[in-house]
């Protein structure tokens, strides 16, 4: 393989004047994490609402939830980001569109919201199946105790359902982290984009991508380990997850 390896490249100064190539990659990692966490908050909030909607007795509510999930699930994330970034400001009234476009950090906000909504459909599906997996008796008992629907969800169903879906939600969160890289296409300079930029500036393709790979792996490991502790912490002894 006629490729000139140069692992010391990470300690060489990058042309952006803020430090070495390693600093460049780490700043990308930071942005990846920030974007993922903000998107995840949106995904959790919207996903929970829609997930609950889908399990409500009301036909209309469950239909709205269904349409929401189908809408966000049946389009590639990349296309959704393009819709938010390129199309939305153009179809809005001029002044609004201009305001949207000239926001500093527009790629960050677009990526956060676009990714958050995309992931929310998947969170909703997980939560729905979590609620669906609870024994019917729980809901019936809650009703028998005189709890309202809201109270049933708040005190009986959701606390159980969230514990059940914690492992799948962990992997959805990791998907969120990975999916931030799609925002490279709307100019978000996250980890993959920084690796690409490093490749362009330094011509060291494989070193740059190796470093990005290692950083993504680290994030995965840290999140997986942390979530295992969380799972253990919230487990109810003697019930499903708390064996």
């Amino acid at each position: 393989m006629n490729y000139h390896w140069n692992w010391r490249i990470f300690w060489e100064p990058a042309p952006n004047g803020t430090g070495t190539y390693l600093d460049m990659l780490l700043s990308g990692l930071l942005l990846t994490i920030e974007t993922a966490i903000c998107a995840w908050i949106i995904a959790l909030i919207c996903g929970s609402i829609v997930g609950v909607l889908r399990t409500l007795p009301s036909k209309t509510a469950s239909r709205i939830g269904f349409l929401y999930v189908e809408f966000f699930r049946n389009m590639p994330l990349l296309v959704q980001l393009f819709l938010w970034f390129f199309v939305l400001p153009e179809v809005l009234p001029n002044a609004w569109g201009l305001w949207l476009k000239q926001m500093p950090n527009a790629p960050f906000f677009t990526a956060t919201i676009g990714l958050g909504l995309f992931m929310s459909a998947r969170v909703a599906e997980q939560l729905r199946s979590g609620i669906g997996s609870l024994p019917r008796g729980q809901k019936l008992a809650a009703t028998a105790l005189g709890l309202t629907t809201a109270q049933t969800y708040r005190y009986v169903l959701l606390p159980m359902a969230f514990r059940i879906v914690l492992p799948p939600l962990t992997s959805e969160f990791l998907s969120t982290v990975k999916n931030t890289s799609v925002a490279i296409t709307i100019g978000l300079i996250e980890l993959t984009a920084q690796a690409r930029a490093m490749q362009e500036f330094s011509f060291q393709v494989f070193e740059a991508f190796t470093a990005a790979t290692v950083l993504y792996l680290l994030v995965n490991i840290v999140v997986a380990v942390a979530m295992r502790f969380v799972e253990r912490g919230v487990a109810i002894p003697g019930y499903i997850t708390g064996k």
Partner: protein
Amino acid sequence: MFANFDFDVIRRSLSYLFLDGMTFTLTLTGLATVGALVFGTLLALMRLSGSKPLVWFAGIYVDLMRSLPLVLVIFWFYFLVPYIGQWLTGSSRPMRVGAFTSSLVTFIIFEAAYFSEIMRAGIQSISKGQPAAAQALGLTYSQTMRYVVLPQAFRNMLPVLLTQTIVLFQDTSLVYVLSIPDFLGAASKVAQRDGRLVEMYLFAAVVYFAISCIASFGVRRLQARIAFVH
């Protein structure tokens, strides 16, 4: 809002969008699904084989691929595949690999990790009595897998496999980052050339949405039928 909407730009580029772009996307989806299913099944068998090195290899492979963003993997392989080809064929220079082949290899290698997890669940869903009975009948391991376990695992997992295929179909749009003219790539080339982003991206969104919707509707029908038969 649609006052200066130019439908004509879509009509003019229809043949390019579908004959070139969509053909690329669908061929890539189809071949990658088959490849990833085969490779993924192999990985699943390795993982369940009980042989330590194989279990290790398959486990690390699947975990690694599932930890990485597809965009990064696409960059990796577009630059790496020719060197792998050189290494495999023992040639003196990197193998020339075109955009399509390179994307195909990338998607097979990446999606195999996901397909392998599905097939593993499928194989584990078969009751232990079946392979035992097959062995009692004198079938070898490979015969047991081929004639007894895998067909059933495949059938049980068909809806999930098809759903993953829809995800794969959507994921192929990411080759956009390499300027390869898949459906979205083609749409964006027209969009940028003619300055018609709104029309082209909306149109692309509608097409992806329609195809995925119809496909997932089909999967749901299939699921209902399988559930009914059982």
